[in-house]
C-alpha cells in the first residue's frame, strides 16, 4: 500500500527555474535579448533624432514667418523663400494619384482576386505586378520623361516642353499603381468566402456580390493600402527630377486653376532636394522647415492608415 508522504513543496516559478538552470544565470540569453532590444531601440532612436533635428532646426522659420513661408514663392534668398509653388504641385500630384491610380489599381485587384482563373495570363499579370513594385523610382522617372514629357507633349504641356504637373502626376500615378493593386488584392483576399457564397446562393451576379458584399467588407483594408500609396507618391522626388520639376527660378506655379495644369511646376520633395544642394549654413533652417511641412503631410497620411488598420483589426478579431 502506498503511503502518502508529506505533500510536495509548492513549486514556485523561481524554484522551478532554479532547479532547471542549476542556479546559473543564462548570460548568453540575457546578452542576446539585450542586443535585440538595442537594435530595435537604435532604429527608433534614429527616428527620434531625425524628428528632433527637424523641429530644432526648422522651428525658427516656422515660428517667425509661417504664413509667409507657406504662401511665398521660391527665391534665391533663403530668408524670403516660400513653399506655395511646392504645396500646389504636391496637391495636384495627390489628386492625380487618387483619381487615376486608386480606381485603376482597385479594379485590377478586384479582377485578379474575383474574376481571374488560375491560368497562364493571370500568373503572368501577377508576377508582372510584383516586379513592377520593385522597379526603382528613378526608372519610372525615365518613363515619365520619354512618354509623358516628350511623346505626349501636346497633351501634357506644349508651352512648358511637357514639364508640367500633368506629366508628374501621371508618372507618380503609374509608380504607385502596383502598390495599390498589391495591397487592395490582399484586403480582398481576406474577405471570408462564405460571404460570397451567400450572395451567389440568393442569385446575385458576380459584380453584385463584389459591389454589395466584398467591397464594403474589404474597404478599410483597401483604404489603408491606398493611403500608404498616396503618402509614397507625395514623398517621391527622383521621378520629379526626371520629369523636370523646376528647381530654381519659377514664375507663377501657384494657381490651382485647371488651366494652369500644363504650366511649369515644382513640388515639395523637389524643393527640398534643391535647397539641400545649397550651402548648408544659410539654407539649413529653411530646408528643415520645408521638410517639416512635407513630414506633417506624409506622416499624417501614414498615421491615419496605421490607426485605421489597427482599429479594424481589433473589431474583426
Amino acid at each position: 500500500m502506498a503511503t502518502i508522504t508529506s505533500p510536495a513543496p509548492e513549486a514556485s516559478r523561481a524554484s522551478a527555474e532554479r532547479a532547471l538552470t542549476g542556479g546559473k544565470l543564462d548570460l548568453t540569453g540575457r546578452a542576446f535579448t539585450l542586443a535585440l532590444q538595442l537594435s530595435l531601440l537604435i532604429s527608433i532612436l534614429i527616428l527620434g533624432v531625425l524628428v528632433w533635428d527637424v523641429v530644432d532646426t526648422g522651428s525658427s522659420v516656422l515660428a517667425e514667418r509661417l504664413g509667409d513661408f507657406l504662401t511665398g514663392t521660391m527665391k534665391s534668398q533663403a530668408d524670403t523663400s516660400g513653399l506655395a509653388q511646392g504645396i500646389r504641385g504636391t496637391f495636384w500630384i495627390g489628386v492625380f494619384t487618387v483619381v487615376l491610380a486608386f480606381p485603376i489599381g482597385i479594379s485590377a485587384a478586384i479582377y485578379l482576386e474575383e474574376y481571374a482563373t488560375h491560368g497562364r495570363l493571370t500568373r503572368f499579370i501577377d508576377l508582372n505586378i510584383r516586379n513592377l513594385a520593385g522597379v526603382p523610382s528613378i526608372v519610372y522617372g525615365i518613363v515619365g520623361l520619354t512618354i509623358f514629357v516628350k511623346a505626349m507633349q501636346s497633351l501634357t504641356g506644349p508651352e512648358s516642353n511637357g514639364q508640367s504637373v500633368v506629366s508628374a502626376g501621371l508618372t507618380l500615378a503609374i509608380l504607385v499603381l502596383p502598390i495599390v493593386i498589391i495591397t487592395a488584392a490582399e484586403a480582398i483576399r481576406a474577405v471570408p468566402q462564405g460571404l460570397r457564397e451567400a450572395g451567389y446562393g440568393v442569385g446575385a451576379t458576380r459584380w453584385e456580390v463584389i459591389r454589395h458584399h466584398v467591397l464594403p467588407y474589404a474597404a478599410p483594408g483597401i483604404l489603408t493600402g491606398t493611403v500608404l500609396a498616396l503618402a509614397r507618391a507625395l514623398g517621391e522626388a527622383a521621378p520629379l527630377i526626371m520629369v523636370g520639376a523646376a528647381s530654381g527660378f519659377l514664375t507663377g506655379g501657384t494657381s490651382y486653376e485647371l488651366g494652369s495644369l500644363q504650366d511649369r511646376f515644382t513640388a515639395l520633395p523637389q524643393i527640398i532636394a534643391t535647397w539641400a544642394g545649397r550651402p548648408v549654413g544659410e539654407w539649413e533652417s529653411v530646408t528643415y522647415a520645408a521638410i517639416a511641412v512635407l513630414l506633417v503631410i506624409v506622416l499624417i497620411a501614414n498615421a491615419a492608415a496605421i490607426l485605421l488598420r489597427n482599429r479594424f483589426e481589433k473589431r474583426r478579431a
Binding site: 543564462d26 542576446f32 535579448t33 527637424v54 516586379n131 522597379v135 503609374i174 544642394g277 496605421i306
Partner: protein, 313 residues
Amino acid sequence: MTDLSASPAPLSLGDLSGDPRRLRTEAVMRALLFGAALTSILISALIVGSLAKEAWTFASQVEWATLWTDGWFPRRGLYDVKTIFVGSALVAGVAMLTAVPLGLGAAIYLSEYARPGVRKVLKPALEILAGIPSVVLGYFALTWLAPEVVARLREDASGASLAAAGFGVGILTIPLIASVSEDAMRAVPHALREASAGLGARKITTTLRVVLPAAVSGLVAAVIIAVSRAIGETMVVFIAGGGTGGSLFTLDPLDKGTTMTAAIASQASGTDQVVGEALTFQSLFFVAAVLFLITLGLNMIASRVVRSVRQAY
C-alpha cells in the same frame, strides 16, 4: 370553379438566364476590370519601350574606350561604368551592414520576445520610419549622419560621402527588412517552439536553432529585396553622396562618389534639358536599363528563394 387545366406557362431557358440588364452590367464590369488589370502589362511595356531604344543607341554608338576610364563625367564624354557600379555596390554594402543587424534584431525581438503590449507600440514606430520620404533621409544623412557618425570614422570625411549615403539608405531599409523577416518568423508554427521548449531548450536556443532555420527563406528574401531597394534608391545618394556632376573612381566608401541612380538624377537636374556630349542623354537610358535589369533580377531571385526553400507546414 376555377379552371385547373390552365397551368402556368412552362419555364423557358430564357427565364432561367436572368434579367438581361443585370447580365449586361456584369459583362461590362468584367471587361472594365479586366482592362484595369491589363494596364499593369501596359506599364511594363512602357518601361521597356522607353528604355530600350536610347539604351541601344548608346550601346551601339559609344566608343568602348570611354566606358573604362577613371571617372564618370558624362558631360565630358567619360562614361566609366565601373565608377557607378562600384559606387552602387559600396552604398548597398554600407546600407546592408547597417540595416541587416538592426532590422533582423528588431524583427526577432518583435516576433519572439516582445509582449503584445510592447509590440503594439513599437511596431507602428517602425512603420512610421518606413514612411519617411527619401529626400528627408538624404538631408538628414548630409547634415547629421555625416558630421556625427562618418566624421568619427575618419577625420577629413566630414561632408558628403558614399558612407554617409550608405548609412542613410540603411536606415531607409531597416523597416523593410524588419517587416518582411518578422512576417516570416511569425509564420513559423507555434508547435515548433513548444516542442523545442519542451525538450528543455532555452529561449535563445529555440530562437536561433528552431525559429530562424524554419524562417530562413523569408529572411534571405528580406535581405535580397533590401539590397534591390538599396541599389535603386536615388535621393539619399543624390543629396548625401557628393557626386553631383560626376565622380572619380573610388573604392573607399569614405570618399565622395556616385551610384547608378544618382548619376541619372544629377544629369537631369539643374538644367532644363540634359546637355553635354552627344551621347550624354543616351547614357542616362543605358544606366537606367542596366539598373532595371539588376533590380528585376534580384526581385525574381527573392521570389524564387521564397518558393524553393519554403516548407509547407
